[in-house]
């Protein structure tokens, strides 16, 4: 029972982590809570659904194309709604702009697809493997494997490649990076693209796993993922991964052992508790402030 729940928690948590990475990367560079991120995740889930049901793509191909689509969407959103504001306004104005985009995108999808819940056709065999006393479904294995692959890939990109180095530089000091000849705008666009692609992968997998896709699915998922990013220490990439996994596990454990009607309250309650003990999040660094 316990191990079963732990596995379910890890599965849920790795999808939270995929979305949380987008929040934390964008935050690390431009200090913006990108509230439209949950909607990008929702668009990813819908893009996958359309590709699978109307164009007969298999799951992996649909996921890749959905990721590509959301990359473009992420870049577009940044170009239209955030870039004109950068540098000449407070961070809160950018936040309102992000909320505007979020409302716009979810309404747009509700107009196009209706507010009903859509279901994925059967894209993956309902096969379960037994590992000792543990039942592993094929979809769970896929979610865990794809998330792990994407996160390792991301970590490699950030630590070892040239653009990753530029991203790290920008997250330390945007102005200084600009003076060092880094094309800051391109790095920011790239960050939005990568974050959106990860969210799209999460969206497609959640859509298949829970067999439900609807236009307002982005809001709660976005809030939880933001909570995960904050819990891990916002701006820290390993923090988002750990925050996502622990939030998923806490939520599933809370439902299993405490009460299912308080599902969302448990997740947020744990988050508040973590922040009271460690105000900078699990992996965040304490920055001493000066005038």
């Amino acid at each position: 029972m316990f191990w079963e729940q732990l596995l379910n928690g890890l599965t849920l948590g790795s999808t939270y982590a995929l979305i949380a990475l987008g929040y934390t990367m964008v935050y690390g560079i431009v200090q913006l809570i990108n509230f439209a991120h949950g909607e990008i995740y929702m668009f990813g889930a819908f893009a996958g659904l359309i590709l699978v049901s109307f164009f007969g793509f298999n799951l992996i191909a649909a996921m890749l194309v959905a990721m590509l689509f959301c990359m473009l969407l992420g870049i577009l959103v940044e170009r239209i709604a955030y870039r004109p504001l950068r540098g000449k306004s407070s961070r809160l104005s950018a936040l309102i702009s992000a909320i505007g985009v979020s409302i716009f995108l979810s309404t747009l999808m509700a107009l196009m697809a209706g507010t009903n819940t859509h279901r994925y056709p059967e894209v993956i065999a309902h096969q379960t493997y037994h590992l000792g006393s543990l039942d592993l479904s094929l979809m769970q294995i896929l979610i865990l494997a794809v998330s792990a692959l994407l996160m390792i890939g991301l970590q490699f990109m950030v630590q070892k490649t040239r653009i990753g180095k530029a991203m790290r530089a920008c997250s330390q000091d945007l102005d200084a990076s600009y003076l060092m000849g880094i094309n800051v705008n391109r790095v920011i666009s790239f960050t939005f693209a990568v974050g959106s692609a990860l969210a799209a992968a999460g969206g497609v997998m959640v859509g298949v796993y829970y067999n439900a896709v609807w236009p307002y699915m982005g809001m709660m998922a976005g809030l939880k993922a933001f909570a995960a990013a904050v819990m891990g220490g916002i701006g820290s990439i390993p923090g988002a991964m750990i925050g996502g996994l622990s939030l998923g596990i806490m939520e599933i454990m809370g439902v299993a052992y405490l009460s299912s009607s308080y599902k969302d309250a448990i997740a947020f309650g744990m988050l508040i508790l973590v922040l009271l003990i460690r105000p900078q999040g699990l992996m965040g660094q304490k920055i001493s402030k000066k005038v």
């Binding site: 309102i96 409302i103 107009l111 933001f226 909570a227 009607s261």
Partner: protein
Amino acid sequence: MNALDATLTQYIDPYYLRIMILLGINIILALGLNLITGVTGQLSMGHAGFMSIGAYTSAILSMQFGFSYLMALLTGAAVAAFFGFLIGIPTLRLEGDYLAMVTIGFAEIIRVFFLNFEPGGRAVGLSGIPQHTNFITVWLIALIIIALNTRLLKSRMGRAFYAIRENEIAAASTGIDTTRLKILAFTAGSFLGGLGGGLYSHYMYYINPQDFGFMKSIELLNMVILGGMGSIPGTILGSFILTLAPEMLRIVAEYRLLFYGALLVILMIFRPNGILGDVRIYDLKKRWGRKEVKTCQS
């Protein structure tokens, strides 16, 4: 609808009367959030949580315990203020977006609590609340709140609030007790949140936990930021625009929220500091004064 509003509807269309009452309630709520976020600079994204505490407490008190309208409103607001005080304590340690997350989390916990709260009718909501709120009470309270707010922000304490927003460390080093003032701002702001909630529940007849979700908090935050952070005329203007905009946009029917979202983005692109963000009424008076002088000379 009570007698007073019935008389008023002879002169004003009931639809407009309703919008004006909701506008008054929104102004009270937004002024509360303005104290926390606009003036003191502590980003709170869970104001609807305080609103729901006030709404439920006062509704239950006047329905089941026979409290008078005023007593129910004040008790509801006081309970909300108490929770604001509780939330104010972590602000000692958290800042910026960590604080925003705690307020979101707190409001979500409150919502889930009311979804499972037996005396509040669980997910079905609470209906049959006596409809005491009318045009006169709402606007009387709103005007008192506006006046008190204006006095407060011009006082020594109000300036200390602004100082915390501008630079907390510098404020602390000039001898401002930032901890005490931040808690005070949270308590006062959530008192207004609870008061607005009580007015709302005694106007709407029926309340439901979904009325006070994350989107309501965001709507209130939009009102504060859109008009111009920390400015009372700005907050009133923001409440005015965002209460009216959804009604005006009814002509575009199902595209309403689409336009609403786009409107937020466009307003922020063209007025990044809020509509009245970099305009001060004092400067306007001076500029108009100068123009008059010029016309005299020419």
